[in-house]
């Protein structure tokens, strides 16, 4: 024991020395110095942009359970960085990226964030997938006044001056899905989810909105994320006879859910499912059994809008590409370009200057899903809502679209059916 802790102490000491050396060595122009007047940052930034390049960090799980999803996000970030470099970089500086593996382990996400910010001295970090990973990164980027770009739809009820959220918050994915169900005349809804913060929060919101819409919730079931067998729960769904199933299951457990659903004789024609985690990437692993089911996203590969054709073409040509594009991938792509737009508007890589630029005037990007605009106050972006129906080639036919781009409202303050005490309770519960 004692020798281990000694070794640990030695490691910490070495780390501290290395950090100090790096700080001393980085005596060129520092991002912190460039915009000294823009505000005082808690920790002195060691970001060095005096040369002709800027360092950015990518933090994705390349090993462990989440690698099945996060590997693609990492690839698309690389593609975006390569594209930006080919076009001259950011403020004339080439992106030099440092890829780190979060290894599906939340403390590792925190450690790697610390390393990227204080040892690699990156100007911003891109990545994460699960809410747990984001919540591990959050205190570290806040302490070091770093920047983190998070590309996945999530449960909302969060906003941090050091995080930019380019995926949907609940009012851009869950609420549009409920509007779609109401328009379909759904009366009896069953909620099936994985057992963690996103489905629990999403379902709390769904239940409140369903009451307002006059939709009855006929059952609610959760299964741990790492369990595929949904047999027992599907038997309950059969007995509850819903018109529609709202699916907030994540990961491979979705495959088990669809199989158990199909085994029990349920059909898309009579008891359809609307999902918020099944996209073009996930559908092929489910075979024909998922055909005819619905999903709510902002982006689909089948969209003809914006710069989508160009995005798909670039992705297909990119080495190690899976050939299909999906919402989280597109959000990751947006995050890189949004950062470029922010830095160019600020004229600096300094975090405070970037945040000030976000507030000063609307930052936009011609994204594959359409022209997205950043909300400088809550750091989310306005997005279009879309509902797609899975066809036999595992692509989505668009069956519903929101009238306009939906402004992000992570705390659902613009919705009268969402009471303040529940907002507080859910925000506290999410930590």
């Amino acid at each position: 024991m004692s020798s281990t802790s000694k070794r640990k102490r030695a490691l910490v000491a070495t780390g501290a020395i290395a950090t100090t050396m790096a700080l001393l060595a980085g005596c060129g122009a520092r991002a912190g110095d460039e915009a000294a007047g823009a505000g005082s940052s808690a920790a002195a930034s060691c970001v060095d942009t005096s040369g002709d390049s800027v360092k950015l960090g990518f933090l994705n799980s390349l090993t462990g359970g989440m690698a099945i999803s996060e590997k693609t996000v990492s690839n698309v970030l690389h593609m975006a960085a390569d594209e930006i470099n080919a076009g001259g970089g950011i403020l004339g500086k080439k992106i030099e990226y440092v890829q780190e593996d979060g290894a599906t382990d939340w403390p590792t996400f925190a450690e790697k964030t610390e390393k990227l910010l204080t040892q690699d001295c990156v100007a911003a970090i891109f990545g994460g997938w699960t809410s747990s990973s984001r919540k591990a990164v959050k205190p570290v980027v806040e302490k070091n006044n770093g920047l983190f770009f998070y590309p996945v739809q999530y449960e909302g009820l969060e906003s941090s001056p050091n995080i930019y959220y380019t995926g949907a918050t609940t009012n851009q994915q869950i609420i549009p899905a409920m509007d779609f169900l109401a328009a379909q005349g759904v009366k009896r809804l069953f909620l099936a989810g994985s057992d963690y913060v996103f489905p629990r929060t999403a379902n709390a919101i769904i239940k409140l909105y369903a009451a307002k819409l006059g939709i009855q919730i006929v059952g609610e079931e959760y299964v741990p994320l790492d369990k595929d067998d949904w047999t027992s729960q599907v038997a309950k769904i059969v007995a509850a006879k819903p018109d529609f199933i709202f699916n907030t299951i994540n990961g491979s457990s979705n495959v088990g859910f669809i199989k158990a659903y199909y085994d029990a004789g349920l059909k898309a024609a009579t008891t359809p499912i609307i999902s918020v985690s099944i996209a073009e990437e996930e559908a092929p692993a489910m075979g024909h059994e998922v055909t005819g089911q619905y999903a709510s996203w902002n982006y689909f590969q089948s969209l003809k809008t914006g710069t989508n054709p160009k995005f798909i073409e670039s992705w297909k040509a990119y080495p190690n590409s899976s050939g299909v594009t999906s919402d989280p991938m597109e959000a990751a792509y947006i995050s890189m370009y949004l950062y470029k737009a922010l830095v160019e508007a600020a004229g600096s890589f300094d975090v405070d200057a970037v945040n000030a630029a976000a507030k000063a005037k609307p930052i936009t990007f011609d994204a594959p899903e359409g022209k997205v605009t950043l909300d400088g106050d809550n750091h989310h972006i306005a997005k279009p809502g879309h509902i797609g129906k899975i066809n036999s080639s595992n692509q989505f036919d668009i069956v519903w679209a929101s009238d306009a781009f939906i402004e992000p409202d992570p705390y659902l303050e613009g919705y009268d059916w969402f009471p303040a005490d529940i907002r507080k309770q859910l925000t506290d519960a999410a930590g």
């Binding site: 090993t63 359970g65 690698a67 099945i68 999803s69 590997k71 693609t72 057992d195 079931e221 959760y222 299964v223 741990p224 790492d226 369990k227 595929d228 067998d229 949904w230 047999t231 027992s232 729960q233 038997a235 309950k236 059969v238 007995a239 491979s252 457990s253 979705n254 495959v255 088990g256 199989k259 158990a260 199909y262 085994d263 029990a264 004789g265 990437e281 996930e282 092929p284 692993a285 489910m286 075979g287 024909h288 059994e289 899976s322």
Partner: protein, 294 residues
Amino acid sequence: MDALIAPLLNGSAQGALLLLAALGLSLTFGQMGVINMAHGEFLMIGAFAAYLVQQVITASNLSIPVALPVAFVVAGLFGLLLEVTIIRWMYRRPLDTLLVTVGVGLILQQAALQIFPSQGVPVEKPGWLDGQLTVLGYGWPLRQLFTILLATVCVAALSAWLKYTPFGRRIRATVANRDLAETTGISTRGIDRLTFFVGSGLAGVAGVAASLIGGTNSQMGAQYIIPAFLVVAAGGIGQLKGTIVAAWAVGVALAFFAYWTTGSLAQVLAFILVIVFLQLRPQGLFTVRTRSLA
């Protein structure tokens, strides 16, 4: 009636899958004392083998029956490779086998992640498993019946093999008393290899069954390994009949708890039950009587 029939039937099918996953372990862990944490990844290999067979034989009606023996042999060969290269240096050091095989499992997971699409691959269910059998008003999925039949066939084949064939007799002799078996001229090294091949092969068969229930991807094995070990321990080390009873009991308990409470709580309750049982009866349901000193 539904409140009893549905969980009972669903639970029996869940138990059958657990049994398939645990059967190979009851050989390698129960008989040989090797804690093979890569057993879940052998199950994964079986599932991917089913997918590959479906790429060659596209009619799923035929491909699943073909995939079963293929998965057995492929997973068995991986097991054999593990035994020959690593495990054989570690007999009688169960903790070391645990650590080493955790590593082997991670390597196999990452290899699957690199080779196959990261989100996993589809394994199509044969058409003859579509539909339900109505049992006292409950529409019981035929796929569940298939899992139970498959587990029954595997158990029958394994116990007949252990009981009536010369190989089986040699395995039982080696387990009962390795030194004495050696003095009678049995190549215990050969027997070890064979046992490991069969144990791993059974994981492959379980993988085919699992591919019809959940996702086929690099992570699929992890969810089976701990329950499978618990089932083997609760049944009594080295006792086939114990493993059968324990797997069925855990499956049915899981299904009833899931019916009364929630899916997450069911996992907790079922395994609390196993832990309490093992506290009261650490040797498991059944025990082996042996004169061996080892």
